[in-house]
Amino acid sequence: MSLVPRSRFKAESGSLSRRTFLTASLAAGGGLLLTLKLPLSAWGAASGAGPVDLNAFVQIDPDGTVRLIMPYVEMGQGTYTSISMLIAEELEVDLSQVQYEHAPPNDKLYANPLIGFQMTGGSTAIRATWQPLREAGAAARMMLISAAALDWSVDETSCQAAKGEVIHLPSNRRLSYGQLAARAATLPVPDKVRLKDRKEFTLIGKPAKRLDAPAKVNGTAVFGIDAKIPGMKIATIAACPVFGGKLKSVDESKALAVKDVTQVVQLEDAVAVVAQHMGAAKKGLAALEIEWDEGRNATLSTADIVSQMEAASQKPGVIARNTGDVDKAMAGAKIKLDAIYQLPFLAHTTMEPINCTVHVKKDSCEIWVGTQVMTRAQSVAASITGLPPEKVTVHNHLLGGGFGRRLEVDFIGQAVKIATHVDGPVKVVWTREEDIQHDMYRPYFFDRISAGLDLDGMPVAWHHRITGSSILARFAPPAFKNGFDPDTVDGAVEPPYAFPNVLVDYVRHEPPGIPTAFWRSVGPSHTIFVVEGFIDELAAAAKKDPVEYRLALLKDVPRARAVLQLAAEKSGWGQDLPDRTGRGASVQSVFGTFMAQIAQVNVSNEGQVHVERVVCAVDCGIAVNPDTIKAQIQGAIIYGLTAALHGEITLKNGRVEQSNFDNYRALYINEVPNIDVHIVDSAEAPGGMGEPGTSALPPAIVNAIFAATGVRIRKLPIGKVAVKAG
């Protein structure tokens, strides 16, 4: 997520340049325990909970097992595997020797140094761990070698580490890391560590099997929804269908008459039915007649929100960037273009429906959940129960998808409230309908964008005004300063193009009656669509090839040029296509990663959009686990395509109109294009990988539709826009 500051055109966004501080000690049981003290990025320090004392832990047990306390959660992105690779690479152990366990919630110990608190998101995990975990591995390796050299009374330079052993080369004597761990723990941590050159990597850069995969193919993987606590009840919930509304009254008897229903819990804005199993809970909830006080949003519709945003967008916003003199340049331009781009509210629909299991006891509280924000889960429970945070235990689980939804703790707080009324543990499970109708949504955006071109058709002025919700202002208030939200404008402030005069301003407009939150690819999920759609309009106005036009504006950004050229080449850019079939391009530099996509789309005479193929070229720096990178891009493209074609949450009478996968569509296998991913060899530090594929996709699709039909689409989703022939 672009909670991380970035400098122009550079991919080192949020990188940690300062040294990691390591300390070593003897672990219980005789192992070597390394603790890492990580400097927070300036941003992390500003937005977070304060200084971080000790950040991550690596332990080598007497049996040689390397144990990693994993502050980052696994939601499909492969982070358990990729992070384990970093330590294994420098430590010289096989990946199979590394075991990991979820870190407990503790911002002091496990803050994400790029964010400032314990959070997984924003494609930051590898960027945050790349340097410190390799340094920790290298330091441990050097200490183990020293321990062996002392043991053998030989020179360290005659020893080498490999596969969890230290070998004395002249004599071929060997000692395992487990045998050496206790002695190594008594040695000083080296002042300087030498990290491997990338040519020396044996793990990084080679496809590694996901460590979490075996349990995910035989039903043994335990997600939050699979938590089983003795005596546990199951609850499901109906919150007021209008956001901000309250419960007026409910006759509990109809639910209580259902077999296996044990209890009805009334909250201020919701009703939960508690039962022995979800079947009974759902049946009990369906039997209830609930009266709501719908409150002031009772008549709200999407059209109301959009007209408010349109009005708000008329006035200048907070300036995010002002380079040169846009007004003057625009006045002198030969061709002027302006457009309005709009993006809808979107739900996340993680496959694992929202759930949280809670046991509130007299002096403590236990929570079983899959969350991207462990410490926030703990603190929301503490504030509701009145318990000190240390009395709240959070057991984290695998996440059945995150996509930003599990950065929020609304459902955790709700489950804790329900649990305070229940004797014993209770698992609160939302139905899919509740998930879609009480999500926190990717905001609606209403963007005005204009440009002036010179005689050659090249841009001399670029003005982009963004109007929409600031998630950051709610999510991380210290990061929202003077009306400026660096996430919402990310991808718009610094498009990679050489624009001489640029003005980007931001009008914060919080829609009434609908909560907003981060969604996969966060700020760029909207900005890249606008920037890459509009640059395509400029190319068309200049009567130039859209790829050539972009390349001309990218001459100072070689990594962006390279990915665009590669994607164009692999896609057959410029080669003839059948009637009503076209190719569209996008290129972006966000999350520390450069990416280009070329989509090939056919539009039927009836307006049916068929995406045949997507070619993606990516330069994400050093590719830690290349197969995971390909998987992330394939998945991110499908996530973005789903949204581009179908994704739209609308309100009528204050209620979300969509309810399940029949009217809030997900793509099925028959709708998925061929996707080719090409990874550029790079020596740069790794960039983020979970998000970029999603933001780059929608503009490539609408640009391809333009190439196929001449119809320019500036509003998503595409599904409702007529692109019929004739």
């Binding site: 499909g76 992105q77 995969a213 349990a215 296996d260 022995q276 496959m351 499970v429 499908i638």
Partner: protein, 171 residues
């Protein structure tokens, strides 16, 4: 198998269901979806809840060998049909090969939908050991994966078919 599905005590509406070869008696309302019997009453959590309306396929199990959405099958309609879930599918040749192909091709991401995907794929291969692309599309088009693992699912089904019947060329 003796027929144990008829319970004399109609007041408690107990049902006996054969899952993975073992009979389980459960005392629930007859309209309780099989999914919740499997997950909440019997505690077998490999079968997943996704939509509750047979739209996503996460809850797919086999009923007498056919893939069904357990969220939409009331327990009273299961009768003495044999139910197989993800926990036991690896004991069948098709299931074992599908699971192996899933690992070989690194299909999973978050993994939540994969129980259902594997159950659907296994039913396909058990019935049709040499599926072509259309067969795969038809069999798998009710299973949603929000991580977007579809391309690998398709490839893994082909790989599993190949290892099941190595002498047959994939169509």
């Amino acid at each position: 198998m003796p027929d144990q599905s008829v319970d004399v005590d109609e007041i408690t509406m107990a049902f006996t269901t054969r899952i993975n070869g073992i009979n389980h008696s459960v005392d629930v309302d007859g309209d309780t979806p099989l999914l919740w019997v499997i997950r909440d009453v019997l505690g077998m959590t490999g079968t997943k809840f996704g939509c509750g309306r047979a739209l996503c396929g996460a809850c797919t199990v086999h009923m007498d060998g056919n893939p069904v959405r357990s969220c939409a099958i009331p327990i009273e309609r299961v009768g003495d049909a044999a139910i197989v879930t993800i926990e036991a599918i690896g004991e069948t040749p098709a299931g074992k090969n599908v699971q192996k192909a899933w690992l070989d091709l690194e299909v999973v991401q978050c993994g939540y939908c994969q129980s259902g995907q594997i159950m659907a794929a296994t039913a396909l291969l058990a019935a049709n050991p040499n599926p072509n692309d259309d067969d795969i599309t038809n069999a798998m088009s009710g299973n949603i994966c929000r991580c977007g693992t579809y391309l690998r699912i398709r490839d893994a089904i082909k790989a599993a078919a190949q290892s099941l019947s190595p002498h047959i060329q994939n169509g």
